[in-house]
Symmetry: C2
Subunit: 601 residues, 2 copies
């Protein structure tokens, strides 16, 4: 017997055949409900309100995560609540993964286009009984005059050349790279376009590039649809450990996300995906393995070794990317299990390896990758900083999206002044806001150097759980109460401690001092919003020279475009990948001491 | 409204949704009814007897092809008779394409196995936090000790290596050619096997070869299932010209025929197709294009140019051949539109290009390929000899199958003595029988040098069509009457004329005389049954030295096995292909004179 669920305020209906959790139901409709823990009942973020219908009483887990007031307004955890009959549900705004503030622009870096895929026009004399050369040999002879006589072609391309030659009166446009002909077209005006994507765990930053001019002609940031399997990588890898089939579903999810974004961009510039002759995808190693279909189970278990670190260039069709038939997908090298090709692209776009300055590169995320360049060496580490700077494991945390408090100052009276993305009622705090809060707490003495909130301060109170807490925003009409408690501060200090330990170990390994650093480049949304002085004040960054911190936005996306549009950049990236030394932090001498030192406020 | 057709004596039933010809219906059940013209109503061979059911009256075409006695016994042409309701039908033996006398053995030629695909055993130390090398880089390092460090691998192979390494405790067996790893196996005893097929228009001669020893471990000859689209190549190419989709169906038909035969051979030697690590397919150029899926339309129209002449080595999976995942199919070069890789394989197996003797190679079929080697040149021609030597266009003609008259002598009283394949009542005459008949007619003076039957002879009579005719076998119990008429003799003379013209033009082009020929090698079933003296007597062969004619059986199948099992043989075949000069007969000076001279009896 089937039943129907209706999700408000979206008005989406789902017909169900059998009982299922409301989280599963939401995901089936395509609604992207927050589920940082992947439905394990540990994050407590998948709030949903029961409007109509019959349900079991709240489980103990729900009673733990939800206040009595929330429970009495029929708020529940979607992952714990099972639908068995017709019901109407309301999704509160904080449970919806909203359109993020996605950065698709990166540090503009000049480079001359020198694309791997090019076109050549060929005109042939037709065969006759006196000139019986086979079609492909005839094409090869003509290509010799362009110094392209050694190009190979696959069976489907040889087929299409045979058909196309006769359709277009023996004049043909061949799309090729330096090894093979990818596709045959009639001799018309054809503008070859490339697709570059920075495949993030959270977002897909997608770009269309005119390969003749090297210019970006369209850009689009969309949510990585894999997020319905869990917000962080480990939840997604966990889903694969539980059931191998999920690897294929994760691949399908990210590839279809890329295809949809690409189709939208193509429509916006009035082309079809058939114009896409080359693709470059970068991502962390888990994303890289998932989009290529490489087995990821070993990435979920120590020692976390990748399937391979070298560059791959499979057919787009082999991994499901929609592009010109025959087109390939360039997947640049990855460095290690937790240092991916997005890190390489970031360092490439930031010019690492091209100068002799002492430079620190940081991309803050659930795993934070850090590279230090000094004395002709580049060493990279990955540190498990956790998702606190992305708003997870923080009671009112959220990503940098409309409604997020992005900046906080604390006035002398101890009251906070908050700046909210989108100038709307605040619904949570994002990474840069939390960083500000902790820095301001330290400056105003609300926390001590071990990060403890001052229980004697008049603005600090004990909340219903007995936690010391600071009220950031009072409840009001259209406004929920937003607090920061001791546990939130502990999370932030753990995160910044992990990052700081990584930086300090790099300095130690390369035997240089923080003040010798000429430049710090910080990638990603957090870097753009982050106040460098605050970052130094809470010890996220070591004491460095003034004004040497630069936010480079989505530098990985820029690096992907550079590798898409230029063979020289691909060669430079290969050199860079060869040069980068990966340092495994957990086996570094005295790692626990570095970490303990790092977490001090 | 559906209806059911039942085919006797096979007892096969077919449920039909809509009216269709009995020929179509038979093909749908898999019954291989003769249809040399592909269902055009011109060959008159698809006899079928109506046992029960209602049908339209015979068409004028049927009235032309069938005698009043046949019509009154409800014999009809299957291609002209439409089924609209339940019916029971009988297929007379002469309409069934029987299990042919298929040659799978070829001239045994000694060669040392030196297979393209080999195996290497690799043992790795597992990764640890102190040794974080990625799986594929770890394998590459180990391969360097075998001088195989440059082997590449496709994405699926890198995936399977990652999984297999962990399943088999870091010991692995890699199947590779000189460029790439094709497949990863656990370290067990594995005997690599290869599949070679001579893809003929009529038959598929299939072989399994142990690639370690080079020995043929199984052989099987089966009918090419494409035969249901027409017995000769031109009918099949015609089907593609009519509807492009038929190319795909023709590809599917031949590939599934190969797969079925291969499965049967594998079962007989207790292996699975997963043990097949390499494949070599040869065939005439149309077969080659059809099994590879290359467009064939230009092969059906002057100037008959191939898509390509060079060797191809696509994945077995790409063309549908069942083998070890990753295995490839070697398709050796073809020479021209009507000189295929079967001709190359025939010449390779016969040692052309390895000595300096003057040698003539002939493979008689609907198209007869002839090569002449002399003075370090090899020149090949193809001549449209028609299917007369295969029994088509001959009133009682059939292929070399049980019931075929294969040898004929004519006694002094003018009566024939016939030798029948399978020692059973004769149902028709095959190529060697017809050759004998014409030679004996000439010897006994029953025909003159223009091939006219002597109307004054007491054994020559006028048949019901007014044709001069010779009665080979009288009708009796269980025995149909079998005659040879003037039209049959004309067909044979046209066929032998075309072949002789080809031979004479080759002699002319290479400026040598017939008596200088050291050896004539004749491939195929016809060659094995043919009486060389008779062939010379009717002028099929020029006047050559005594005892220099050798039948080599299915030499193309032998050549295919040589290229399957030996890289050296592949290299030799490439050299040979490069050396063979194709000569286009139709533009050769005085071609019509050569032909006119050739058809004299």
């Amino acid at each position: 017997m089937s039943f129907t669920l209706e999700f408000e305020p979206l008005g989406i209906r789902l017909v169900c055949d059998q009982p299922l959790t409301l989280l599963e139901a939401a995901h089936q409709t395509g609604i992207q409900l927050r589920s940082e823990c992947g439905g394990k009942g540990t994050c407590g973020k998948c709030h949903i309100q029961l409007l109509e219908g019959t349900f079991d009483s709240p489980t103990p887990i729900e009673q733990k995560h939800l206040t009595p007031a929330q429970l009495s307004s029929r708020l529940r955890l979607a992952c714990r609540t099972i639908a068995r009959s017709d019901a109407k549900l309301n999704i509160p705004p904080e449970s919806l993964i909203q359109e993020q503030v996605l950065q698709t622009e990166g540090a503009a870096h000049e480079f001359a286009p020198d694309p791997a895929v090019q076109q050549v026009f060929v005109k042939l004399s037709p065969p006759s009984l006196a000139d019986l050369q086979a079609d492909w040999q005839r094409v090869q002879s003509a290509l010799q005059t362009h110094n392209l006589g050694n190009l190979k072609a696959s069976l489907p391309v040889i087929c299409s050349i045979r058909n196309e030659l006769r359709r277009s009166q023996w004049k043909i446009n061949l799309i090729h790279n330096d090894k093979e002909i990818l596709h045959a077209l009639p001799q018309t005006n054809f503008i070859p376009v490339g697709l570059a994507v920075d495949v993030g765990s959270t977002k897909l930053a997608c770009y269309l590039v005119d390969l003749t001019s090297g210019k970006t002609i369209a850009a689009l940031g969309v949510i990585n649809p894999q997020i319905s399997f869990g917000e962080d990588i480990m939840s997604r890898l966990g889903a694969v450990l539980e059931d191998e089939k999920n690897a294929h579903e994760l691949q399908n999810a990210v590839i279809s996300g890329i295809n949809c974004a690409c189709q939208d961009m193509c429509t916006s510039v009035n082309i079809t995906p058939n114009s896409i002759v080359d693709v470059c995808l970068v991502g962390n190693t888990a994303m890289h393995h998932l989009f290529l279909g490489l087995p990821v189970q070993p990435l979920a278990q120590s020692p976390f070794v990748p399937a391979l670190t070298s560059a791959l260039y499979p057919r787009a069709q082999a991994i499901g990317i929609q592009a010109m038939p025959g087109a390939r997908v360039y997947a640049p090298p990855v460095i290690a299990g937790f240092v991916g090709s997005d890190h390489l692209a970031f360092l490439l776009a930031s010019g690492f390896g091209t100068d002799s300055r002492t430079r620190l590169g940081i991309d803050i995320g659930t795993n934070t990758e850090i590279a230090l360049q000094s004395n002709n060496r580049i060493v990279s580490v990955s540190t498990a900083s956790g998702p606190a700077f992305e708003g997870a494991h923080i009671r009112f945390g959220m990503r940098a999206a409309p409604g997020a408090i992005e900046h906080i100052t604390i006035a002398k009276d101890g009251r906070a002044v908050c700046q909210v993305i989108g100038n709307q009622p605040a619904v949570g705090i994002c990474g840069s806001g939390i960083l500000d809060a902790v820095a301001e707490f330290r400056l105003t003495g609300l926390i001590n150097e071990r990060g403890r909130l001052d229980k004697n301060s008049p603005v600090i109170f004990k909340d219903s759980d007995g936690q010391l807490s600071y009220q950031l925003i009072q409840a009001g009409e259209n406004q929920r109460e937003i607090n920061i408690d001791q546990k939130d501060i502990d999370q932030i200090l753990l995160a910044k401690g992990a990052i700081r330990a990584g930086i300090d170990i790099l300095l130690d390994d390369l035997k240089i001092k923080a003040e010798e650093i000429d430049e710090v480049v910080i990638a990603g949304a957090f870097g753009s919003y982050m106040n460098p002085d605050h970052a130094m004040r809470i010890g996220l960054l070591p004491p460095i020279k003034k004004d040497c911190v630069h936010a480079v936005g989505n530098a990985a996306g820029m690096g992907a475009r550079m590798m898409l549009a230029s063979m020289e950049m691909r060669a430079r990236a290969l050199e860079l990948a060869h040069k980068i030394e990966y340092l495994e932090l957990t086996v570094y001498p005295d790692f626990p001491l570095f970490f303990a030192k790092g977490i001090r406020a």
